[in-house]
C-alpha cells in the first residue's frame, strides 16, 4: 500500500513556556494512540513545538485502513428455524440488520452447537476521513490548566488559535478544529517572515519553516541554544550555569534563537552570588556565568528571538533592565547588614507561622529547643544548635529575602557571618531548608542536620496537632516533603535518632497549642507512609517494605537495617517456605481464641514436634545476642535454618489435636517461632 507523510500543525498565539513541552508531548501521545487503535501503520512519528505552534508529523503512514472481515454470530440454528424449516422472526431480524437474507447466512459449527453466521467486510476508512476527528479528540484531551476564550467565539483553548494545517503528502485534509479551517498555510517567524508560509508537501514542513526563521524541532532548537551558549561562554573565557528548567523555558520562548552576552557593573559582585543569580535567572531568564574558579562574573548570557540588525541595541536594552534589579539587591544587602539577625527576633513576633500555632518567634524558640535536644543525642555542640535554631528564621525579615524568597537561609548564612556568629551556626542557617527537592543535597554538618530536622518535625507535629493533615493533592505546608526530608537526613547521614522521641519532645514544646490527642501516632504513621515511597524509589520491593512497616520501627537507622535484612532474607532459598509457614501459623492463631501457655517439652508427642522444638531452642540461644546488637540479618540467617524442621512438622503433625493441652502446647511453640521472626519483620507478607 502506498504511504505518505502526515502533518498536523496548530498555529497559535504565544503559548505558556513552562508547559509547552508537556502540551506538545500530550498532543503527540493523543494522536499516536488514535493512529494505533485505528490500525494505521507508519514508520516514524515526531512532535514539534515552538511558542506559536504544536505539531505532529507521521512518516510513511498508510493511506487508508485495511479492509477487515468481521464475523457476526446470529441465533443458534436449532432455534432459528421451526419444524417446517421456516426462519424465526429473530433469525429474520438478525439477517435484515446485517443486510442479508437468512438463506445467505453461513453456519458456524463448534463443539457447543451450530449458529447462523455472517462474514461482513468492513471497508477501511481513508486517512482524510479519519484525521479531523482524531485531531479534535487529541486537542480536547490536552492538559490545559486554564483554558481561555477570545473574541466573540465560544471556542476554548490555551491561547487563541490562528492556523490549522492537516496535510497528507501534498493534499490538504479538509476539516476544522477550534474554529479554524485546515489549509496549507503556516505562521512563519513573527518578525523575520512576512505573511504566511505556503506548504506544498507535508515532508517539507521542517525545511520550509527553517526558511521562515523557525526552528520547529524543540530538541534541535535546544541543542542549538546549548551550543550557542557554550560558544559565547568560551569566547568570554567563562563557564555558563545552565539550569535544565530554565533551558526548557528559554527553548519554549524562541523560534529563532540568537544568543548574546551582556555585562553589568563589576561592583555588584560585592553582593553574594545567590541573589544576583536569582535576579538574572528568575525574572529575566538569563544564564549567569562563572570564571574557571567557580566565581561569578559580571556577565550574563541571554537568548533573543531575532537576528537583530543591531545586536548592540538588544544587548544595551537587556543591560539596562538588569541594572536596577542588581542595584536593588545591592541596596538590600547594604541595608540588611546594618541590623543584626539577633535584633530581628523581635520582628518575628509580628509574623504568624500559623494562626493556631503562633508566631515565627515562637516557632524559632521551639526549633532552638528541639535542635539542642537533637545535638545532645548526637554529642554535638548543643549551644551552637540552640543558637542556630533561634536565629533560623530571622533572615526572613531582611529586605533581601522579602524581595527574593528563594535565597532564604543562604542570606541568613551571610548575615550571620557578618554579625560574627561562628561558622557552624552560619552554615546551619543555610542548611536548614535542605533537602529542598528530590535529589537535593543534605546539610553538611550535624548542627545543620539538627536544625533542618527540627524545623521539619516542628511543622509536621504542629499541623497534625491542629488536625490539618494533608488531604489528597492538598499539602499546603509541604508535609510530605518535610517527612521525606527528615528520613533522608537521618538515614543518609547515619544519625542515631528515634522519630518517636523527637515527636514527643516536639509535642511537649508546643505546650497546650495542640488539639489532636493522637498527634504522636498520626505523625509517626504519616512518616511511615513516606518510608514506603522512599524505599520504593530505591527499588526495594513492596512486600519487603510492607514486612518492615508492620513493625513501625521509629528509628530510621533501625528501619534501614531491617529493610536490608529482609531483602537479604528474601533471596535465601528458605524464604518462600518460611514466609508461607509464618502465614499459615498466623492464620491458625487468628482462629484460636484460647490461652497460650509456656512450651512444655513433655507434652510434645510427635518426633517432628520434638525436633522442631529442639532446633528452635538452639537457634533461639544464637539469635538472642544478635538481636541485642540489632544484627537482624544474622538473626534471620539463623532463623532460616528452621525451614526443614518446620516442613517436617507440618507434614507429620496435626496441630489441632483433640487433646486440648497438646494442641495448646503446639500452638505455643508455633507462636514463639513466629514471634522470633516478627521481632524483626512480618515475613509472612513476603511473596
Amino acid at each position: 500500500m502506498t504511504t505518505e507523510t502526515l502533518l498536523i500543525e496548530l498555529g497559535t498565539e504565544e503559548l505558556p513556556p513552562k508547559s509547552l513541552k508537556t502540551l506538545a508531548t500530550a498532543f503527540f501521545d493523543n494522536i499516536k494512540t488514535q493512529l494505533d487503535s485505528n490500525d494505521l501503520t507508519y514508520s516514524d512519528i515526531k512532535w514539534f513545538a515552538t511558542p506559536r505552534r504544536l505539531a505532529v508529523q507521521v512518516i510513511d503512514l498508510v493511506g487508508k485502513q485495511q479492509d477487515k472481515t468481521v464475523e457476526k454470530r446470529g441465533p443458534a440454528v436449532n432455534v432459528a428455524f421451526d419444524a417446517e424449516g421456516n426462519a424465526s422472526k429473530a433469525a429474520q431480524g438478525w439477517a435484515r440488520s446485517n443486510g442479508i437474507t437468512v438463506e445467505q447466512a453461513e453456519r458456524l459449527t463448534t463443539d457447543k452447537g451450530e449458529w447462523l453466521l455472517h462474514r461482513a467486510t468492513v471497508t477501511g476508512k481513508a486517512i482524510a476521513e479519519l484525521i479531523p476527528d482524531m485531531v479534535t479528540t487529541a486537542l480536547s484531551k490536552l492538559p490545559i490548566a486554564k483554558p481561555m476564550r477570545w473574541g466573540a467565539e465560544r471556542t476554548q483553548f490555551i491561547r487563541p488559535v490562528h492556523t490549522l494545517t492537516m496535510m497528507f503528502g501534498s493534499e490538504v485534509i479538509a476539516g476544522e478544529a477550534l474554529g479554524v479551517t485546515s489549509a496549507n498555510q503556516l505562521q512563519g517567524h513573527r518578525f523575520h517572515h512576512e505573511g504566511l508560509v505556503t506548504l506544498n508537501h507535508a515532508n517539507e514542513y521542517q525545511a520550509e519553516l527553517l526558511k521562515a526563521y523557525v526552528e520547529v524541532d524543540f530538541a534541535e532548537r535546544q541543542k542549538k541554544i546549548v551550543a550557542q551558549i557554550e560558544q559565547v561562554a568560551k569566547d568570554i573565557n567563562a563557564v555558563a550555569l545552565i539550569d535544565e528548567d530554565l533551558l526548557d523555558e528559554v527553548t519554549a520562548l524562541v523560534e529563532w534563537p540568537v544568543t548574546l552576552v551582556g555585562t553589568f557593573d563589576e561592583d555588584f559582585l560585592n553582593v553574594p552570588a545567590e541573589p544576583l543569580i536569582y535576579s538574572m535567572k528568575d525574572h529575566q531568564k538569563y544564564f549567569p556565568v562563572n570564571d574557571k574558579n567557580g566565581q561569578l562574573l559580571n556577565k550574563f548570557i541571554f537568548v533573543s528571538n531575532i537576528e537583530s540588525k543591531d545586536p548592540s541595541a538588544v544587548i544595551f536594552g537587556n543591560e539596562k533592565v538588569i541594572r536596577p534589579r542588581l542595584a536593588d539587591a545591592e541596596f538590600f544587602f547594604k541595608t540588611d547588614k546594618k541590623q543584626s539577625l539577633e535584633s530581628r527576633l523581635t520582628s518575628l513576633e509580628s509574623v504568624l507561622f500559623q494562626k493556631q500555632l503562633g508566631t515565627l518567634k515562637a516557632k524559632s524558640e521551639r526549633i532552638a529547643e528541639l535542635s539542642q535536644f537533637i545535638a545532645e543525642q548526637l554529642n554535638e555542640n548543643a549551644d551552637d544548635a540552640y543558637r542556630a535554631g533561634l536565629l533560623s528564621k530571622t533572615d526572613l525579615m531582611s529586605e533581601m529575602v522579602l524581595e527574593f524568597p528563594q535565597v532564604q537561609g543562604t542570606m541568613g548564612k551571610y548575615y550571620a557571618l557578618h554579625d560574627g556568629e561562628n561558622v557552624n551556626i552560619a552554615q546551619a542557617l543555610e542548611d536548614q531548608y535542605r533537602p529542598r527537592f528530590a535529589g537535593d543535597s543534605l546539610p553538611e554538618a550535624n548542627i545543620g542536620c539538627a536544625v533542618a530536622i527540627s524545623d521539619k518535625i516542628d511543622t509536621l507535629v504542629g499541623i497534625f496537632g491542629i488536625n490539618q493533615a494533608p488531604k489528597g493533592d492538598k499539602d499546603p505546608f509541604a508535609l510530605r516533603r518535610a517527612a521525606i526530608g527528615s528520613i533522608r537526613i537521618i538515614i543518609e547521614k547515619q544519625l542515631d535518632l528515634d522519630l518517636s522521641e523527637l515527636i514527643n519532645k516536639s509535642i511537649e514544646l508546643f505546650g497546650d497549642k495542640l488539639v489532636n490527642e493522637n498527634t504522636a501516632n498520626d505523625v509517626l504513621d504519616f512518616i511511615m507512609g513516606r518510608f514506603r515511597a522512599f524505599y520504593q524509589e530505591q527499588g526495594i520491593s513492596v512486600d519487603v517494605i510492607q514486612a518492615v512497616l508492620a513493625k513501625k520501627p521509629s528509628a530510621p537507622l533501625d528501619f534501614e537495617k531491617r529493610i536490608k535484612a529482609v531483602t537479604f532474607f528474601g533471596e535465601l532459598p528458605e524464604a518462600a517456605t518460611l514466609a508461607a509457614a509464618n502465614k499459615r501459623v498466623g492464620n491458625i492463631l487468628a482462629k484460636f481464641d484460647g490461652q497460650l501457655t509456656a512450651f512444655n517439652s513433655d507434652l510434645a508427642t510427635e518426633q517432628a514436634e520434638k525436633d522442631l522444638a529442639n532446633v528452635y531452642q538452639a537457634i533461639k540461644l544464637e539469635v538472642a545476642p544478635l538481636m541485642a546488637v540489632k544484627d537482624y540479618q544474622a538473626a534471620l540467617s539463623e532463623l532460616a535454618q528452621l525451614k526443614a524442621p518446620i516442613d517436617t512438622f507440618f507434614d507429620n503433625v496435626m496441630v489441632m489435636s483433640d487433646d486440648e493441652a497438646i494442641k495448646i502446647n503446639r500452638l505455643t511453640l508455633l507462636n514463639e517461632i513466629r514471634n522470633s521472626f516478627f521481632a524483626i519483620a512480618d515475613i509472612s507478607v513476603l511473596q
Binding site: 504565544e14 476564550r149 473574541g151 533573543s304 538588544v314 539596562k320 541594572r323
Partner: protein, 312 residues
C-alpha cells in the same frame, strides 16, 4: 496621520492616541477619581461586561500609595500614567495591532527583541481575571496584554482584549534615560520641560501624605461609608454611582495599606469586602444594560475596519 515627537512624554501619548483613534477606538479622557490602574476606569471595567461591543483608548493617571518613594527612587512613583486600550470583542489581529503601535513609536521589531511572555492577570478586588502576556522589549516589560475571562465575577462574552502601556517605562526606554525624573515632557518653542518639573514635588509631598499624614481613623470611616453608600445605590438601581463608591473605598483601602493600618489577616477581609461590592455593581450594571436592550449591540458596525493596518 500626524507624526508626533514620541521622544517626548507628551508626544508619546499623542502618538498612541492618534494611532488607536485611527483603529476606531473611542478616545476618552481620564477618570476623575483616584484609581490604582486603567482597568478601573468604567470604560474598561463596566464596558467589558455584557454583549455590547466597544473599543476605547485613554490615558489614566494611577495612584499606588505604597509605591511612593518621596521622589528619591528613579524607578518608582506613587502617581504615574498608563495608556489603556480596550477592544471588545478582541479582534483576531489584536497582537498585530499592538505591534504596529510600537512601530509607529519608532521601535523597529527587526532591531529590538520583542516578546510575548506568559503573564496571567488577576484583580481580587474587581473579581476579575484574564490570560495573556507581558510584552518584553529587549527584556524590559513595557506592556500588559490580557484577554479578560471574568470581570466582576461575570463571564466575559464576548472577550475584551486589554492592552496597558506603562508610559513612563516606555518613555524611559525611548528617551534612553535611567531616571523617570529625567524624562523630557515636552521640548517646544518655549523650551524643554522635564518630568521632574511637573511631578517631583508632587511625589515628595504625596508620599509624605500617604505614609505620614493620611488620617487612619477618617479613612476607616470613609471606607465604611463608601461601602454603605455603594450598597444603597445598588438597591436604588444606580450601578454607575455605586461603582464610584467602590473605587473610593478601594483607594481608602490603598491608603490604609500605605499607613500599615491593616494587618495581614484583616487585609484579606478588606479585599473581600471590595470584591463583594464590585460583583454587586457588575450584576446591577449588566441588568441595567439588559433592561435598556443592550443598545450598543444595535449600532451599525463601523465603516472603518480594525483589521487594516492603519492608514499610512
Amino acid at each position: 496621520m500626524t507624526t508626533y515627537n514620541s521622544k517626548t512624554f507628551q508626544g508619546l501619548i499623542l502618538q498612541l492616541q492618534d494611532y488607536w483613534s485611527r483603529q476606531g477606538c473611542v478616545i476618552v479622557q481620564p477618570l476623575d477619581l483616584e484609581v490604582g490602574a486603567g482597568t478601573f476606569h468604567p470604560m474598561t471595567f463596566l464596558r467589558s461586561i455584557g454583549p455590547e461591543p466597544i473599543s476605547s483608548a485613554y490615558v489614566q493617571p494611577c495612584r499606588r500609595p505604597t509605591d511612593g518613594r518621596y521622589g528619591e527612587n528613579p524607578n518608582r512613583l506613587q502617581h504615574y500614567y498608563q495608556f489603556q486600550v480596550m477592544l471588545k470583542p478582541s479582534p483576531k489581529n489584536i497582537q498585530e495591532l499592538y505591534l504596529n503601535s510600537l512601530k509607529e513609536l519608532g521601535i523597529d521589531p527587526l532591531v529590538h527583541d520583542i516578546r510575548f511572555v506568559e503573564d496571567n492577570w488577576e484583580s481580587p478586588t474587581l473579581g476579575a481575571w484574564g490570560l495573556g502576556w507581558e510584552i518584553w522589549l529587549n527584556g524590559m516589560e513595557i506592556t500588559q496584554f490580557t484577554y479578560f475571562q471574568q470581570v466582576g465575577g461575570l463571564e466575559c462574552t464576548p472577550v475584551t482584549g486589554e492592552i496597558t502601556y506603562g508610559l513612563e517605562r516606555l518613555a524611559m526606554y525611548i528617551q534612553n534615560v535611567d531616571s523617570i525624573y529625567d524624562l523630557v515632557w515636552t521640548d517646544g518653542p518655549l523650551g524643554t520641560v522635564y518630568y521632574r518639573d511637573i511631578f517631583h514635588q508632587n511625589e515628595v509631598e504625596q508620599s509624605t501624605y500617604n505614609f505620614e499624614h493620611a488620617d487612619v481613623d477618617a479613612l476607616f470611616k470613609q471606607f465604611d461609608q463608601c461601602e454603605i453608600d455603594s450598597q444603597k445605590l445598588i438597591e436604588a438601581n444606580l450601578p454607575l454611582p455605586a461603582y464610584e463608591q467602590v473605587m473610593k473605598a478601594s483607594h481608602a483601602f490603598n491608603l490604609l495599606d500605605a499607613r500599615h493600618a491593616i494587618s495581614v489577616t484583616e487585609r484579606q477581609r478588606y479585599i473581600l469586602r471590595v470584591r463583594t461590592l464590585s460583583k454587586a455593581v457588575a450584576e446591577a450594571y449588566y441588568a441595567k444594560r439588559e433592561e435598556l436592550g443592550f443598545p450598543m449591540c444595535n449600532n451599525n458596525t463601523s465603516s472603518t475596519n480594525t483589521e487594516t493596518k492603519g492608514d499610512k
